[in-house]
Amino acid sequence: MRLLGNIGRRTGQRLLSSVPALLGVVVLTFMLMRVLPGDPAVFFASGPSAGQEEIDNLRREMGLDRPIPEQLARYLLDIARGNLGRSLTTGQSVLTDLRQRLPASLELTLSALVIALGLALPLGIAAALRPNSIVDHAVRFVCTVGVCVPTFVSGLLLIYVFYYLLGMAPDPTGRIDIFAANPPDITGFLLVDFLIAGDMEGFQAAASQLVLPAFTMALFVLAPLARMTRASMLAVLGSDFIRTARSLGLSRRRVILTYALRNALLPVITITGIVFSTMLGANVLVEKVFSWPGVASYALDALLASDYAPVQGFVLLMASIFVMVNLAVDILYGIADPRASMS
């Protein structure tokens, strides 16, 4: 009970401290956008052929003739109301665009995370349990090399091997074959929607499209996860309390699972949060290589077309997601480690 109370308090504290982080992010994007060369009104106007009057109206509307602090206040108000501007290239409001394309990115990132954890944890643990064995050396080799391979290269490599050489993977463009039918749009996650609709063929098609990009992203974070798991497990296995557990005659299973593993996973929880943030960035590269219709490629296309409202919205979105994920990781850590909850 006392523990739950502590956890609750800690969650509240963490929520409270993420507010300034979010606020800081918002202010930073505001400043970033004002640094842009040129006149923001022109960028947010309806098109390059907008007349001078329209631009002037827009400028007044956007409050660009007001002092900066007032602009900041209006900006914050806009964000709160969900007005992120309008995209020149798609013609829709940025909020709508983001909402449409977010599930694609999330599906990719989450499946990649699941794959990465599913591979990295067992590898790291196996390597730590058999130090200096072949398994250990292999895992360390994979980690050392894995950190060095850029995401876009590994993605292209996977495409070359599995699509061109082996023909196992489908055409690496997009989430689903252009000739196939989309499932009813419930969650936006294709896999989930297909399952709900009971369409196993569609599920398979979507899954096969997802495999290569998800693996590419997973490979990117496999190395640091496995390395951290291995290091953490090794450190725990050499610690005093494991020696005590062994001296008391506890079964090997209990020593490894209950005593060693639970302690070793604590730093892994923390690093998963960091890993997730790098994945959000790697999204940009993977979506470009596989033409995945997610928020990152949306923002990238907008950026290269000098359409800045989507970029601003994208940055805000990514930062918010990261803050929330970090919050979740923090809370999870607080539950797992009783020392953290005490003061």
Binding site: D240, T244, R246, L248, R339
Partner: protein
Amino acid sequence: MGKLLEIEDLHVSFSTRGGIVEAVRGVSLALDAGATLGVVGESGSGKSVTSYAVMRLLDRAGRITAGSIRFCGQDVTRLDHRDLRALGGGAMSMIFQNPRAALNPIRMVGLQIADAIRAHTDLGASAARSRALELLHAVQIRDPERRLDAFPHELSGGMCQRVMIAMAIACEPALLIADEPTTGLDVTTQKTVMDLLARLTTERGMGMILVTHDLGLATQYCRQVAVMEQGRVVEQGPAAMVFRGPCHPYTRRLVAASPTRTSTVADLVGGGAPVPATRRPRPPAGTPMLLEVQGLTKRFGETTAVDEVSFTLEAGESLGLVGESGSGKSTISRLICRLIDQSGGDILFEGESIGGLPAREFHRAPQRRAIQIVFQDPHDSLNPRFSAFDAIAHPLRRLEGMRDGPALRDRVAACAERSGLPLELLGRFPHQLSGGQKARVGIARAIATRPRLLVLDEPTAALDVSVQAVILKLLDDLRREDGLAYLFVSHDLNVVRMMCERTIVLQQGRIVEAGPSREIFTAPKRSYTRELLAAIPHFTPDLMMPTAPFPGIAAEPMMHPQGAVLHRSLGPPP
């Protein structure tokens, strides 16, 4: 009747980066059921490694290369892990030093005890929990119901050690090995924990092996004793005999170096003529005290670490500050040295107030050179990137503005010689020096600027007993010869009694008792002081009675083939 434990010619080696290291070289020990054996030695003696080998807890780098360990007649050196598991905990257990680190930090203490119980019995979860509660009662922990659900970081060191003892006795072992169980604990806690162990082992008829570096503990709690040096047993037998009449030169040195109630510093290093008490020349009338502390107070947030402490110190005098952890003695030493600022009160050095100058500016004050400090842990008080020469030259460079050259070299050499540091070691780095050598570097650095007041914060606490003896002699000589005043902070009352003319006893930031050392130690007025004195495991070889069951039959020391001395009474075994 067979022996409980028989170790014969045990050899243990470790493969390290630098090659194969033999930690244990032919150790033979024996223990009867219900008996207590103390394994005594300094660092590097191999005493802990031996106990790990018995429990089969050597890590991958360590291997038993020769010899045998027989437990109840059964050879355990060759057992596989499953049989060992049945053996460990059920038949023999171990408790370790640093008890908090030895417990799983994220698992409730009650569950850990229950795990130990369920590893050897068929009890279910709730039955194991009630048995765990019984055990906590048996180890006399306060408020056992609440402690069941506590985590190790919520418990004090003493409580953690009790929990470990509870886990160790959970399955009624026949043998309990205690590896330095009281390191890091306060003197009073140490006594209660050791008394508890003694009581439990007698009640349950357990055999106990106490591995320790403290001869006082070994005398008080062990019948038999084995002295180890560098992987070998050099002398063993009944404790009284070994310590009353040590035969092996190493044992002699060890016994001499262990402070007793009445030993002096000169005794520690093997006697010699007692140094005559030098009469300090009386300072001319009207000279202010060297150090005067008035109402010194220090608060850290909510807690008051030092509460209205006042005392004086004359030039050339040595004053001891004793107390347990939390008494504020270390804080006082930092305050006097002006490394931290006080919250209230004043410090007067030679009549001038130095308390007014903030600590971060003090390095510029002229008094900085006159007040220096020798630190506790030689291992982290030397900058790992500085050679010994650089460390000693550092204050000369900073406080006296000396530049590199023959003058600096001469000064450093002079300091090194005063501290007994061989000149050829000046080029070495801390990790290349032994504990005693590092201590000497620390002392040389402190006396480099010819200070008038030296603050010593537990200067020998981390050193082996024989090294401590030598360093204490050095400090004593320095004081007499150079007229230094010492503020000697320590938790070790014997050391303070030997080194200091006057003593102040502190408890939770307040002065409990103060006066000449002789008075405090022979006729303490306050109950807290009496408690502290009673808690020290006194090493009293002269007063020990021989434990031969048949008085009148003399004991005869025998020489072992490898030079070890075996004291054996000539009567039939008990």
